[in-house]
């Protein structure tokens, strides 16, 4: 499903080279739930960006769902992402569209038939417990609801791999717990989940495989 081999990522700021990831190697099998844990600035987001080809590795190899990330062209990137679900700390909902339209938007841009769009959108909304808020606009949602809408958008296409980059970062414990439960449900449905968080207690409470990152290196792979 995912395989990284001796991956390094270096950002250039003018003449200065800033290493973000150093010598990262690990595998994630199909159906796994993996927590990437580390402090802010440890390299979690850069690592996740490599998985959806938001970045390319400076060295080493990244393979996701059979795609070599380093050699993907625009078509290859689109083909890979059609099998991924991605959520961020910021829900990234479109402010001018209601919850239903935000989720349906994904299916519409991919050319899904109209009847299928309605059915799958409500399926996704039910999966995150947000079907009663379908007509609400993002400004009318709590942060937890917005994040659940973002999760519904990520799973509406039934992705093979869900990449969640700090989806609970802005939430209180109760809301974070709701999001984590949704992630567990999605995982129980057969989706591979890679979940990044800086929240130590939350990461430990999940009782899943955990990769700990410090200073751009994986220092622990446990669980």
């Amino acid at each position: 499903m995912i395989e990284l081999h001796r991956v390094c990522k270096v950002f250039s700021v003018g003449p200065i080279k800033v290493p973000a990831l150093t010598d990262i190697s690990f595998r994630v099998a199909k159906g796994e739930f993996v927590v990437i844990h580390g402090k802010s600035g440890a390299g979690k987001t850069t690592l996740l960006k490599l998985l959806y080809r938001g970045e390319v590795p400076s060295e080493g190899e990244v393979e996701v769902l059979g795609h070599d990330i380093g050699s993907l062209g625009l078509r290859g990137i689109a083909a890979l992402r059609r099998h991924l679900g991605i959520v961020f700390q910021d829900a990234k909902l479109l402010p001018g569209r209601n919850v239903y339209e935000n989720i349906a938007f994904v299916l519409r841009v991919l050319g899904a038939p109209r009847g299928e769009i309605t059915e799958r959108t409500f399926d996704a909304l039910r999966a995150v417990g947000l079907h009663s808020r379908a007509r609400a606009y993002p400004a009318q949602l709590s942060q937890g609801e917005a994040q659940r809408a973002s999760l519904a958008r990520a799973i509406v296409r039934k992705p093979s791999l869900l990449i969640a980059d700090e989806p609970t970062g802005n939430l209180d414990d109760e809301m974070a717990g709701e999001i984590v439960q949704v992630l567990r449900d999605i995982h129980a449905g057969g989706t591979t989940v890679v979940f990044a968080t800086h929240q130590t207690r939350l990461a430990a409470s999940l009782r899943q495989r955990m990769l700990v990152i410090e200073g751009g290196r994986v220092v622990k792979d446990e669980g």
Partner: protein, 294 residues
């Protein structure tokens, strides 16, 4: 999918707001200018065609030939390239024509002791012979006739009119071209603003693996819509102007150019202006570039 793309294009157009309106106005102005010059050029072309049709070349003869020699000469002239028709005009006939032209002053001609007018061959050029180059060659051939004393033709001013027509077309295209570049830049600016306004949509589209054409096509379509609106407005403005102004100019056109009425643009030019509008808008939409963050 098509409905979605058009819906997104219209949404984008609303987002561009005043800049989109400026782009439409500039396209209207540029195509209106081109259309106005084409209209003028087309009518000058009609005048040129009309006058070429009435064009006559006269070959004045050194001596008046016998009837048989005149018939043979006319036959020889008719076989020359560029000659449509040829007619022999005797000295007597020429004097009678002069008297008709003089009208009440014809008595002045009757006082002449001898007929001073030479015999001549009056030639109507064929379409080939009525072009500037064809007319020049025809005059050369007629001057080379041993019987010819002098050759006169009114081709010069028709050529001047034709040159004016070409000048009007070139000036119109150049003027319209400058405005068209401004229009393209304005559509590009409008589309760049749209790109900035819709960056969240674009980001989501790219994150979910939408094909690149789905991301770019609404931009191209909104440029195309601006272009078509601009072209439609330009054509309506030209049509309304023609409807109200042409009848008032008709008497002047009759006297100056021999035209009974001012024609509007032919259908092919109307279609060309509409296509040019669509092309300008689409090009503007295509040239816009936003940052690709992911």
């Amino acid at each position: 999918m098509v409905g979605f793309l058009i819906g997104e294009a219209i949404r984008d157009l609303k987002r561009a707001g005043r800049v989109a309106v400026s782009a439409i106005v500039l396209i209207t102005l540029s195509l209106g200018a081109v259309g106005a010059f084409l209209l003028l050029s087309g009518n000058l072309g009609n005048a040129v065609a009309t006058w070429r049709h009435h064009l006559r070349v006269i070959v004045y003869l050194k001596v008046e030939p016998s009837t048989a020699a005149a018939t043979a000469l006319v036959r020889r002239v008719q076989e020359l390239p560029g000659v449509g028709a040829a007619r022999y005009v005797s000295r007597v006939e020429a004097l009678e024509s002069l008297k008709k032209v003089l009208g009440k002053d014809a008595t002045a001609a009757e006082g002449l002791s001898a007929n001073p007018l030479p015999a001549s061959i009056e030639i109507t050029p064929s379409p080939d012979g009525a072009t500037p180059e064809g007319a020049r060659r025809l005059l050369e051939r007629l001057s080379a006739l041993p019987e010819a004393d002098d050759v006169a033709g009114g081709v010069e001013w028709v050529d001047k009119l034709a040159r004016l027509q070409r000048l009007v077309t070139v000036v119109g295209l150049a003027f319209g071209g400058v405005l068209a570049v401004a229009a393209i830049l304005t559509v590009t600016t409008a589309t760049t603003l749209v790109l900035h306004a819709r960056r969240h949509e674009t980001e989501i589209m790219r994150l979910v693996g939408a094909p690149e054409f789905t991301v770019r096509l609404p931009l191209l379509l909104q440029g195309l819509i601006q272009g078509l609106l601009g072209a439609a407005l330009a054509l309506v403005a030209l049509g309304v102007s023609h409807h109200f102004i042409a009848p008032k100019l008709a008497p002047l056109m009759t006297v100056a150019l021999g035209l009974n009425e001012l024609d509007f643009l032919p259908p092919i030019q109307i279609v060309a202006i509409a296509l040019a509008g669509a092309g300008l808008g689409a090009l503007g939409g295509l040239l816009a570039r936003g940052r690709r963050d992911i």
